[in-house]
């Protein structure tokens, strides 16, 4: 299982709509629209290539998406539980 994040850049006036639509995609969670047109998306997936596949899918399927830039990826399996107080 991997956890990844990306910034989805959209047309300004379409950002909220696209954020809603992205929420409907399984394994994706959106975390708001920032600075008018940047949507933060976090993805959970079985395989790491899903980040690349999802980027291409969103770019191709959503007309008003203007760019997707990955920001983070890590595997859930690499470490055990982390504790902090």
């Amino acid at each position: 299982m991997i956890i990844a994040s990306m910034i989805v850049k959209t047309e300004k006036e379409k950002a909220e709509d696209i954020a809603l639509q992205l929420k409907r995609i399984p394994n994706l969670s959106t975390h708001g629209v920032y600075k008018e047109d940047n949507i933060i998306v976090v993805m959970e997936a079985e395989k790491e290539e899903e980040l690349v596949n999802m980027s291409r899918y969103i770019m191709n399927e959503f007309d008003w998406v203007l760019g997707i830039y990955p920001t983070f990826v890590a595997s859930e399996n690499e470490l055990d539980e982390i504790k902090h107080n």
Partner: protein, 754 residues
């Protein structure tokens, strides 16, 4: 409190994205981020892929590469990375890293010691030199090598072995841009920088899929368009791409027939009163390519290029050409950008000239928001190759082989006899491999590139490479070229060595060494120095102990030149996010616009009141060229009725030597394909995913059909990345008469179901 690994990672993912956008952390994530980064040392560097020059930070923990993040402090990308750059750290630890030298024995590449491999290469090169002369040897380098590496190779081959058979893969991608800049403005590389994007009101994109080939530049265009509602984007390209998402107007020209369109735009700009007559009077002369002509002569030359004529040539609408001219003319600022669709043509230099023409006619140059700006394909093609002097006609510091004074200056710094550097230009890339095929070149040193996949009309050249004594510096094995080499040296990859890259906008940036080289790999520079010593040239090389020593020697070549880097010392470059030349001293901040009062070499006495003075030209005037309307070398025919064009996709880069090592990228587009317009597919009775055979005069390939509304009708597009399906078997090796760059972008083909 305890949290699960999953929650921790989700919080970190969120924080990282928020940080890049520049918003406050969304939750109490700083703690998570700090925990994640514990023990990681971040090293400042530059992305290893395209020519944009994005700043990256390479994270290292316990001597291992742990991750990449965009460098927020780098003004080029402000922390943003495309998907290739994002996975760059994974290339370092790829399974197929080459860890020790290989020597061909009894037809097979076998493990060898460094001494054995170095002695073999030095001995064989000396033998060839003594028996066949210096021109039986050749160096073929790369726009991905560091400047220090390219410089050392050029020094060895030109100054000590004594051949100008020194060329590199930028010949295949940007030689036409260099030829265009030099012929029009007298000096190579753009006048402006990326800063102009933030002031530009009209972008003319010609033959570039910026969204996929230069994603971070695309994002800057997106941002500009959002900030400035009047900003317009025009595309001239035979294919729809993701770049179209921001286009206001796109004309899908017939591949190879766009010169008439540029002439028609120039004609309309003059006719409709958009020409900056004062600028033309002050800073422009006219030429037909052989002789000077007058402005009136140029106007007469343009008469036939009516919008209707150009539209007929390019198979577009005349009214769209009129719209483009009007938009360009009316816009207060304008930038043109282009890549391989312009350069990889037998009329590549001409087309570069014609783009420059419309900027010169309107004076849209040398001021914020205006430039005629070539986008570069490789990270150090500008720095190491065009500036470092490793194209056959060049010497370091924008000097020319054919110039006696330049040869003397180079010889003085290298402490060699002035006549050691031959006055005659050597063999350019295609001619070099042609000479190998004929047996004229017998020893070939290939550094950081993969010609056995990247040369056009490949079948013509492979045997020659096999027959020659072929030496390859490479970090990965196998590559198509390493497979047929006689000796393969394992060399340090990005992150395992320090050095300088010079990107598209004249910016030189330092890259830190963050890791020790894998296995027995060595810095390419060390390999070159060792070969030089073993060939008997120790005096020219043994004092160069570090990359910084090499850089400091190279800086001597730039002092006082238009590309002065004297102020770009290692010390300074380590602290800054690069410097844009000319930067003549260590207090100088670098230069935004060349040939203007901002330029430290602007000759105020000669320029007087002129806004721009092109001091690399005799009268300080740039040239508007009346170039002939040249079509493609291989027009479509009855036998081959379809235009074939080739190019790149977002997730892969060039011959996949690097991106092919990243499973996440590889799996995104695992199989070769040809894009076919849906209407063409219907008429050819081809369905999506059908196996089809694509043939040109030079060969055939079988691949999947991808039926998609991207290429114009009558044109198909094939990405050229996959080594198991060598697209360049199909491409044409005809070259531009001036730049010698091959016409990868246009060939005639036929398609049938396989």
């Amino acid at each position: 409190m305890s949290i699960s690994r999953r929650d921790f990672l989700k919080a970190s993912a969120l924080t990282t994205a928020a940080t890049i956008i520049g918003v406050e952390s969304l939750v109490d994530n700083k703690i998570f981020a700090a925990a994640l980064q514990e023990g990681i040392v971040w090293h400042k560097s530059v992305c290893r892929f395209c020519g944009v020059g994005c700043g990256v930070m390479l994270g290292v923990k316990d001597g291992k590469p742990l991750g990449i993040k965009g460098d927020k402090e780098n003004t080029i990308n402000a922390g943003l990375l495309c998907v290739k750059g994002f996975y760059l750290h994974k290339v370092i630890t790829a399974k197929n890293r080459l860890l020790y030298p290989l020597i061909r024995k009894n037809g097979k590449l076998e493990r060898a010691s460094w001494d054995e491999a170095l002695n073999l290469v030095a001995g064989k090169f000396k033998e060839i030199l003594e028996k066949n002369g210096p021109d039986a040897l050749a160096y073929y380098g790369s726009g991905q090598a560091e400047t220090e590496e390219s410089y050392l190779a050029g020094k060895l081959f030109r100054g000590f072995i004594g051949t100008n058979n020194v060329d590199g893969n930028p010949r295949l991608c940007m030689a036409s841009a260099a030829g265009g800049y030099i012929s029009t403005f007298g000096a190579d590389e753009p006048i402006g920088t990326y800063d102009d994007i933030d002031y530009c009101d009209l972008f003319l994109l010609v033959g570039t899929n910026t969204a996929e080939a230069h994603p971070v530049i695309f994002d800057r265009l997106v941002n500009r368009k959002k900030k400035s509602p009047n900003c317009k984007i025009i595309i001239i390209d035979p294919r729809k791409t993701p770049t179209n998402k921001i286009a206001d107007l796109h004309i899908m020209v017939k591949p190879g027939y766009d010169l008439a369109v540029l002439h028609a735009i120039a004609r309309l700009l003059i006719k409709d009163g958009y020409a900056d007559e004062q600028f033309i009077k002050d800073s422009v002369v006219f030429s037909n390519g052989k002789d000077p002509i007058s402005y009136d002569d140029y106007k007469k030359f343009l008469e036939k290029y009516t919008p209707e004529y150009a539209a007929e040539q390019a198979e577009v609408q005349a009214e769209d050409i009129i719209k483009i001219a009007k938009m360009f003319g009316e816009s207060p600022t304008a930038m043109s950008m282009w890549t391989m669709g312009v350069n990889q043509r037998t009329a590549g230099v001409f087309l570069n000239n014609l783009i420059h023409n419309i900027h010169l006619l309107t004076g849209k140059l040398g001021k914020p928001g205006c430039d005629s700006f070539s986008l570069t394909g490789q990270p150090n093609a500008c720095g190491g190759v065009r500036e470092g002097g490793t194209l056959t006609q060049l010497l370091p510091g924008h000097r020319s082989v054919g110039n006696e004074q330049h040869r003397k200056e180079v010889a003085a710094i290298w402490k060699i006899a002035p006549d050691k550097i031959q006055p005659k230009v050597g063999k350019h890339a295609v001619a070099m491999f042609e000479a190998a095929a004929k047996g004229e070149i017998k020893g070939l040193y290939v550094l950081c590139t993969n010609p056995a996949q990247s040369l056009p009309n490949l079948n013509k050249y492979i045997q020659g490479m096999k027959d020659a004594f072929l030496v390859v510096n490479e970090s990965f094995f196998p590559t198509e070229t390493a497979k047929i080499a006689d000796v393969v040296f394992p060399v340090a990859f990005w992150g395992e060595k320090e050095g300088v890259y010079g990107c598209t906008e004249r910016r030189s940036q330092y890259m830190a060494k963050a890791l020790e080289p894998a296995g027995e790999a060595k810095w390419d520079g060390e390999v070159i120095i060792e070969i030089a010593k073993r060939m008997g040239y120790a005096e020219g090389f043994q004092y160069l102990k570090t990359p910084e020593d090499v850089w400091n020697e190279y800086l001597k070549f730039t002092a006082g030149k238009d590309m002065d880097l004297s102020g770009a010392t290692y010390d300074r470059l380590k602290k800054l996010r690069g410097l844009r030349w000319p930067v003549p001293n260590t207090n100088h901040p670098g230069t935004w616009h060349r040939f203007t009062k901002e330029d430290p070499f602007f000759p105020k006495d000669k320029a007087g009141d002129k806004r721009m003075y092109f001091y690399a030209k005799p009268e300080g005037k740039a040239v508007i060229f009346a170039r002939p309307n040249k079509g493609p070398e291989e027009p479509t025919s009855t036998e081959y009725p379809i235009a074939l064009t080739t190019g790149r996709i977002l997730e892969q880069w060039h011959t996949m030597t690097m991106t092919g090592q990243i499973p996440e990228l590889l799996r995104a587009n695992p199989n070769p394909y040809v894009e076919i317009n849906p209407k063409d597919a219907q008429s050819w009775n081809i369905q999506n995913k059908d196996k089809v055979k694509v043939s040109t005069k030079r060969g055939s390939l079988v691949m999947n059909a991808k039926v998609i509304d991207r290429p114009r009708r009558g044109t198909v597009f094939i990405p050229w990345h996959w080594p198991e399906s060598l697209t360049n078997i199909l491409t044409n090796d005809a070259v531009d008469a001036v730049s010698k760059e091959p016409e990868y972008k246009v060939a005639a083909c036929k398609i049938e179901k396989a």
